[in-house]
Point group: D2
Chain length 402, copies 4
Amino acid sequence: MSEIKKVVLAYSGGLDTSAIVPWLKENYDCEVVAFVADVGQGEEELVGVEEKALASGASECHIVDLKEEMVSDYIYPTLKTGAIYEGTYLLGTSMARPIIAKAQVEIARKVGADALAHGCTGKGNDQVRFESCFSALAPDLKVIAPWREWDLSSRESLLDYLAERDIPCAASATKIYSRDANAWHISHEGGELEDPWNQPSDQVWTWTTAPEQAPDKPEFVAVSVEKGQIVAVNGERYSPYKCLIELNKLAAPHGVGRVDILENRLVGMKSRGCYETPGGTVMMAALQAIDELVLDKASRKWKEALSSEFAHLVYDGRWFTPLKDSVLAGAEALSEVATGEVILKMYKGQVAAVQKQSVNSLYSEDFATFGEDDVYDQSHAEGFIRLFSLSSRIAALNAKAK
Amino acid sequence: MSEIKKVVLAYSGGLDTSAIVPWLKENYDCEVVAFVADVGQGEEELVGVEEKALASGASECHIVDLKEEMVSDYIYPTLKTGAIYEGTYLLGTSMARPIIAKAQVEIARKVGADALAHGCTGKGNDQVRFESCFSALAPDLKVIAPWREWDLSSRESLLDYLAERDIPCAASATKIYSRDANAWHISHEGGELEDPWNQPSDQVWTWTTAPEQAPDKPEFVAVSVEKGQIVAVNGERYSPYKCLIELNKLAAPHGVGRVDILENRLVGMKSRGCYETPGGTVMMAALQAIDELVLDKASRKWKEALSSEFAHLVYDGRWFTPLKDSVLAGAEALSEVATGEVILKMYKGQVAAVQKQSVNSLYSEDFATFGEDDVYDQSHAEGFIRLFSLSSRIAALNAKAK
Amino acid sequence: MSEIKKVVLAYSGGLDTSAIVPWLKENYDCEVVAFVADVGQGEEELVGVEEKALASGASECHIVDLKEEMVSDYIYPTLKTGAIYEGTYLLGTSMARPIIAKAQVEIARKVGADALAHGCTGKGNDQVRFESCFSALAPDLKVIAPWREWDLSSRESLLDYLAERDIPCAASATKIYSRDANAWHISHEGGELEDPWNQPSDQVWTWTTAPEQAPDKPEFVAVSVEKGQIVAVNGERYSPYKCLIELNKLAAPHGVGRVDILENRLVGMKSRGCYETPGGTVMMAALQAIDELVLDKASRKWKEALSSEFAHLVYDGRWFTPLKDSVLAGAEALSEVATGEVILKMYKGQVAAVQKQSVNSLYSEDFATFGEDDVYDQSHAEGFIRLFSLSSRIAALNAKAK
Amino acid sequence: MSEIKKVVLAYSGGLDTSAIVPWLKENYDCEVVAFVADVGQGEEELVGVEEKALASGASECHIVDLKEEMVSDYIYPTLKTGAIYEGTYLLGTSMARPIIAKAQVEIARKVGADALAHGCTGKGNDQVRFESCFSALAPDLKVIAPWREWDLSSRESLLDYLAERDIPCAASATKIYSRDANAWHISHEGGELEDPWNQPSDQVWTWTTAPEQAPDKPEFVAVSVEKGQIVAVNGERYSPYKCLIELNKLAAPHGVGRVDILENRLVGMKSRGCYETPGGTVMMAALQAIDELVLDKASRKWKEALSSEFAHLVYDGRWFTPLKDSVLAGAEALSEVATGEVILKMYKGQVAAVQKQSVNSLYSEDFATFGEDDVYDQSHAEGFIRLFSLSSRIAALNAKAK
């Protein structure tokens, strides 16, 4: 437990990482540099965070604004793949981990650290995501995961630990839910959610309005898409991050983007999570609407394979891998034509694309309808069907002949 | 255009098939036997249908009740696979075609027919589905698809054709939407829907209440699942078909199950369809909730591949193929553990599973949470992560060494 | 059958296309421009081909050398995906079709033609491949497929047709096998092969030495690979086409690259084909060897999906589609690290990589063997296994508890 | 390190497990029961094994003949899926692990043991396979993996350990290669193989004749297949195990079934392995030949997905999982029609199916060839092609219109 001189800790200002600072110093006899990633978790979590870090004993505190980069380089690429984990989860925490890990490594390089630390528990996905990214980006740096080492196993013991060292901490001894927030989503675990036979209570949700309390009138929003990226909201062009912020503002009051699922963690167990992803849910619906217009049947089927593969690899923390590069390249190729406009209706917890158009649309009223056209001769269908079903016919004839 | 003596026509009583009866007799000089499949399209479509058929010139009319069989042998198996076409369409028309084709072939054998006919247009999927099934079940029977042969290309011309022959028909010259209904769903095409930039008007929807008009209070329904099959609703055991009917009754007033999509037809073009699948949407949500409890991560990922493959094969009319048998066998194996109870909340157009439990649940509060347990030692995580990310580490070390 | 003024015919100089020239002129009253693609089918097929075309009645004859472009832009990309159709067929004919179609369209544009014609039969894959490419590249041009129109259904009738018109043709009335050759492969169909219970006779094979007649000593060849492309043979750098030629020269005498399969045609039936692909088989083996060194487990599994998808899409003539772009982009991403050297042993009909190395190798003697190392701590394995098998453990514990 | 009373050890009689017996007794103060699985590794490994076990200190030794069960319940099912790991490895070691683990658990239940032990190293796949199976079959039993615990890290130290305890052992201090043998295959690792730039020397191979030394005349063998299972060899019906033995006898002298690969281990590193699988390679070729006859295009493509998935799950030790049940059920459905006869040619290291027939063949000379037939009308092809390529045409027309 020695030979580490300087460690960069992914620091949040919460109870856990507040205790980790002194614990690292005491147990590794090393300097601790706090690193705070601003991924849009909210001002309240950032105000005074540097002071807190220093008060805990950190030698320095680096706050890095990752908001635009996270949305443009991590979230938007993921959206292009259509990835949704286990059919429901929009990967809000998963997508944030690689960029945080990357920025943490950059700080470590800058300050000449020889180790990295995080405050993830030993039962979750995040430890795997962080450390898998560290493996890819900084295989030479040591990794310290205090939750897997210490025997402080309750909020009380953490508070005692801080009190003994006169480190101020505003945290309370009881906290029902464990939450993770960024610009894209907020997740909720714990409390009554631990029994899947319990409905989430009202206190679970912190961002979106309950559908029952949402406005009685639907609201419509126009979204512009260019090559698989949302570029404008209601006719106003924004940066990727700003698009997300705008859509969050519009969708949250309508209760859009709540999900409540039991998911398979990478570490082999299941967990219950409630997620709020208001703007992201609108984005997904808009991109799906464009796909409906521009992708042919074989491409959409293939994209289902890309989506499934990408969802798992992002969830599993495999961001900095050749697999990710490959699946993403496949999705980006399909996104070349994903350009158009979508009007979505938000109402009482749901969002639906109600109008859609694209310069690359493969839909044509002329072809699809009853009347004659130059492109499609109905008599072609007979030949198509005969060949399409030929192997069935041959098999059936064989069976009869036997 | 000869050598056919007796043809069995899939007859609906609508304008198209009313005209097809005399057309077949005139153009093939053959006897026409009408076959009406009762797949739950509604009493109003069945009342007087035999009289209509005979009035059109059919020699016989066979009405076959396929409702229970359709739900238990076609819909329930499909549900086990989780198939949703292009992410949205619950395959309501697609699943009905194979059973109708099969029953039609059985009638043909019974009456000694040498041909089969249907009223599907030459631009749609249904012709492919019907004829692919015919290929597999009765490769020796001729198939006649009048829409690909005749030059009656409008409702007016069909009405004229009937009027010239003094065949009574209540159909009107104008019909905005083309619809297909059965116990599972109703589909709507045509009219203003032909422009995807148009929202569906209120007249499109015929079954479910508009979310805006739905009750202001959510309603909850309890669904029991055994081995991937819905067996009870609100504690009452029903046959598969009856379960569906019960759920339809409960879900339709809440506006559950509306979708509005642009889909890729098998014949290479896109079409716009609006679908109402109230009870089916609840069933899907219930089964997904059970999967969340009972399937491990690798199994759920694999099931995504099964779902995608099955959705396409059902959509494409490949029901009576080895491919279907294979994918379904895979899904049935996974369904062995899909047993449990789900409470779902229906509100203003949406349904969500809010409580779920299963005797086969892999979720355990003990394992998932913070505290210690016998099964999961947090220190195991380090080893897991090291090996899970080992190839990234090796690649990174190699890159550094270069 | 009119309104066509000028047609560009994919002309080979063989019996079929010799007859198609006059047939097109007579039946479409149009000018016929012959287009000959040089894809490495051999000098003997190109000598005098222009004279033949003009003698048949073509107004012009364009011979286009596509050899380098075919190998670099069609074969090498396909090799990067690892595509092998139905586990065995190296896609020799399939890969040539899109480039021929593309060059044919270019000639059509140059000469101002309004139609394209080919000599493919109505039962094969090539008609689909050609016409699918035409659809993508020149949807405005008409397509004429004489084999689907005329009633000349035997070699005798074609010879008679030419004789009646005094068109000289050296073709004989009997030809046992139907063959297709290019720089990559030669295929053989027909004759005794039509019964899969017959072994191919010696006359089937025209390129490679029979393994039994091949040298009794193995020969070794060194192949250099850069980013998934073969760039040198035995230390000598060559263009893609030249690499192939060199490897053909080395491998054919050893009988390398013969396969004899029953394959599923796209048009729904099966056919028996014997293929010779000497150099290509060596290339495949070399690239597979590099993949063994440089791709991690998840990437290789994913590549299996890419290979399967690409094989089918190339076989099916979907070259100029978004699907192809997507799958290829995925494969190219994986090829970024596919650089190295392979020594292969050719002996009596087989080739095997016996030595391999790569700067991007993920293999390390240090890690794989028994001794200690810094990267892999054996105690990590316990944690890995516990989490890897956790869901099995939980399921088993649950089952016991019941 | 206590509380274990009786442990069942998977015992081989080799140096490692000979030392494990006393080590377990000393370190866990427990009774050790030796369990020897006869999976066809050869008589020489079984002769005297009980005496050796008892001499090492085991209280009992159970030798269980698993040969027939292994072939019929583990190998034959795997063959039905077509699984080949990373394109080359026939899974010989992987398939044996689950049955050994299962039999070991059965012995443990019989003797009332509370723990299981194995002699696998901490860097390999086998520890994961064994322990994953233990997790599924006996989650209540402790698992001891001495190689991950002790500090005996060389053959010398093991020999010393035994000598100090007066336990006789015929093992020598040096052993170049690490091998694993059963009725299906033998694997070789270590020695010069640890550098992939080295060719395997002649001493590596222990079973098959070198192709260069194999007979100069090919030999033919007839294999009968029923529902995806080999049931007869050269007209003689045998049990699954006996079929394998017969084919081994025939194929090994011809050098059939050698492969030399670098593979990705589940634990994240690569390793070099040489494998000899003579009879198995013939079996695979025979089953592939039947598939060529009986599976339609869509089914074969789907089977590629099944094969890939099954190969990975077997390699990864996931035998006793729902995933395995699902993929296998899918493959078994496809095997229903896999019945027929294949004649294979063995010559100088290779095997090829040269004649094949099946009552379920979808191939028909009538359909595939030039002449007319009732089933396939060449004019159908036009319609097929038009619809098959319709989306390309529409996309191209759109692009032109822009």
